[in-house]
């Protein structure tokens, strides 16, 4: 059997700061193969963006430090390769697009130049060739009048258009993996849908794998094949999209699902947010990091850190009771008291 395209194996990355060690990524694992999409879901501060940046070694290594685990791309470790080698991968075999298209493009360079840059760098194209390809790419992402727009500056595009430009830029070198870090968060709802649709279409065409990082479950429901749920730097649940949506097994995932406003809610229905705040990543409480906010927490949760428990095949969840018979979502969870802390 051919090896997996991407394997993240218990990755740990901590920031060593003056005030202490921030455990931003503390044990994340998943696999990704050609044509697949994995949705990485979690709140702000859960470590999902940091994980992606760590994979591409975009985190400056003081204060960051990789404390363990590995990231293997086609069998080769991204963590141990040299600086030159990882630079050959960035923008080339693995590309990344970021959240805010307004600020992610350099305002003083024309759009064509910015798209041509990785082409000239990685594919050795001449300026003419690269700009021609840039125009093609703009057309591919649905920008009208690409041959004249390619000469425009970023501020001459609207937000949605700019994100399309970013997508074009990232796909320039036909990467095997596209990492999309909250690509639609900064956009209007209608534009969001367009961008997601575009990404799906392009994926069908190019066959690249996508890592979709978002806090929005709705986004991944449509696009993802697998889902990784992160909390406080750790992976708390991982499985196929069907498994996670239909048989979620971790209290945090339950909380996420519950907190979504639902179609069938009556007008007087209350929203059910997860009580409490995400924990500080420095003073990580002992035991399960979710336990202070978990309505199902028992004594053991405060003491022992839960390991990943297999629910069913590759579906895992990091909870002491995950998969236990009878451990199911309580419909009245909203009303349950939570031991604050």
């Amino acid at each position: 059997m051919a090896q997996d395209l991407l394997v993240v194996d218990d990755l740990k990355m901590h920031f060593h700061t003056r005030d202490g060690v921030v455990k931003a990524v503390d044990g994340v694992s998943f696999t990704l193969n050609k044509g697949e999409t994995i949705g990485v879901v979690g709140e702000s501060g859960s470590g999902k963006s940091v994980t992606a940046m760590t994979m591409l070694r975009l985190i400056p290594m003081p204060p960051g430090k990789i404390e363990g685990g590995d990231v293997r791309f086609n069998g080769t470790s991204l963590i141990t390769m040299s600086d030159d080698e990882i630079r050959k991968i960035r923008g080339n075999r693995i590309a990344m697009i970021f959240q805010d298209p307004m600020t992610s493009l350099n305002p003083v360079y024309r759009v064509g130049h910015q798209i041509a840059e990785p082409l000239m760098l990685h594919k050795g194209m001449s300026k003419k060739e690269a700009w021609a390809r840039a125009t093609e790419l703009l057309e591919m992402v649905g920008i009208p009048h690409p041959s004249s727009r390619v000469k425009d500056y970023p501020h001459q595009f609207s937000g949605g258009m700019r994100q399309r430009v970013m997508i074009a830029m990232s796909l320039a070198c036909d990467p095997d993996i596209l990492i999309a870090d909250e690509p639609t968060t900064a956009l209007d709802v209608t534009i969001q849908a367009q961008i997601l649709e575009l990404m799906q279409e392009l994926q069908k065409r190019t066959g690249s794998a996508i890592i979709m990082i978002t806090h929005d479950l709705g986004v991944v429901a449509d696009m993802a094949d697998r889902i990784l749920v992160m909390y406080a730097g750790k992976a708390v649940e991982y499985g196929t999209v069907d498994e996670v949506f239909y048989t979620p097994s971790h209290p945090y995932t339950w909380g996420l699902m519950d907190s979504l406003p639902r179609h069938d809610m009556t007008e007087k229905g209350e929203l059910c947010p997860i009580k409490g705040q995400p924990p500080s990543l420095i003073d990580v409480p002992p035991g399960c990091s979710f336990s202070p906010r978990c309505p199902y927490a028992k004594d053991i949760c405060k003491v022992e850190t839960p390991l990943s428990r297999s629910i069913d095949g590759s579906h895992v969840a990091a909870c002491h009771f995950a998969g236990d018979a009878g451990f199911t979502r309580n419909e009245m969870a909203c009303a349950l008291e939570v031991t604050a802390g």
Partner: protein
């Protein structure tokens, strides 16, 4: 514009490859847990950590105390800064630094240390009072411009542009040329210069705060305009004004020194640092030290205000945007 300031302010390392904003914030967000303290309390805490700023404050305090209390101890130990002892004139001229005269004596036999200390009075006074004048004018005009907008705003802003077109020191020279040298005129000349910056800063604070809900609420409660400005807007815009003000004090002292150097400031025999430097150029060959002391005095005093201003800006920075 993405902020690169973590709650730890200047203490955080800035990644050379940039772009850690989302993640840095994510990581450091976790650190800012804890009850928020008062604006000033927070700032004071941060300021205390800045060693340079503390040294600057100490130095300023020393100078202020020394200058104010000068009459008590300077003449007794070092000699009068102004009076000329005609009897000992020939022997006392241009003495090199010694125990009795730590900075030496000038060409009229006066103790230089004494003159430097007395000179501090005027320089510090100019710095503080001229800046105060600038701030008052700036606040009033900035308030009018920001609050009432429209024509008033256009008027004041054009006025600020006119003042901006004049180079600082040049304008002071021109004003002194018109008003004549002397105490009060120096205060005025320098004080009038500084208002545009303050006005602009205050005006933009007002503009950004004006629309906010609590202003409407205050109005609904019947507060009149002046009250709103004083109680609601001013506290929010205090931070940049404090920083500008501190830096301005340094600038005012330098400008006064320049004026005195050109003979347009305070007139002799009252000691003034700038004038002392000018007078000392005649004796570069015979008594070079004469030139050093007043220069150092200016340098250290202004430097203290500059460092203090820097420190204040860093300390207040998290609250202060642009």
């Amino acid at each position: 514009m993405s902020k690169d300031n973590s709650p730890m302010g200047q203490d955080s390392k800035m990644p050379a490859s940039g772009g850690l904003n989302a993640t840095e914030t994510a990581a450091y967000d976790a650190l800012s847990a804890g009850p928020s303290r008062t604006l000033l309390g927070d700032a004071w805490r941060r300021l205390r950590k800045n060693k340079l700023a503390i040294v600057a404050i100490v130095w300023i305090v020393i100078m202020v105390v020394a200058a104010i209390s000068a009459d008590l101890w300077v003449p007794r130990f070092f000699g009068d800064p102004i009076a000329i002892e005609t009897t000992t004139l020939s022997t006392n001229r241009l003495l090199a630094p010694s125990f009795t005269h730590p900075f030496g004596t000038d060409d009229l036999g006066r103790d230089v240390f004494s003159r430097v200390v007395y000179g501090a009075r005027f320089s510090l006074a100019v710095g503080l009072i001229a800046t105060a004048i600038s701030i008052v004018i700036g606040l009033i005009l900035g308030a009018l411009a920001g609050y009432y907008g429209g024509l008033t705003d256009a008027f004041v802003m054009r006025g600020a542009d006119v003042f901006f077109a004049f180079p600082y020191t040049l304008f002071a020279i021109a004003m002194i040329a018109v008003l004549g040298p002397g105490f009060i005129n120096v205060f005025l000349a320098i004080g009038i210069l500084g208002w545009p910056s303050i006005a602009r800063v205050f005006r933009s604070s007002i503009l950004s705060v004006k629309q906010q809900d609590y202003i409407q609420a205050a109005r609904a409660l019947g507060a009149n305009d002046v009250r709103i400005m004083l109680h609601h807007i001013l506290p929010n815009s205090v931070a940049p004004i404090i920083v500008y003000g501190t830096m301005s004090i340094g600038g005012a002292i330098l400008t006064e020194a320049a004026l005195s150097f050109l003979g347009m400031g305070i007139q002799p025999p009252t000691p003034s640092w700038g004038y002392m430097i000018n007078a000392s150029t005649k004796f570069l060959l015979t008594a070079p030290w004469l030139m050093l002391w007043p220069g150092f005095a200016i340098l250290t005093t202004v430097l203290a205000f500059v460092l203090l201003g820097d420190g204040l800006r860093d300390a207040l920075d998290v609250k202060m945007k642009d």
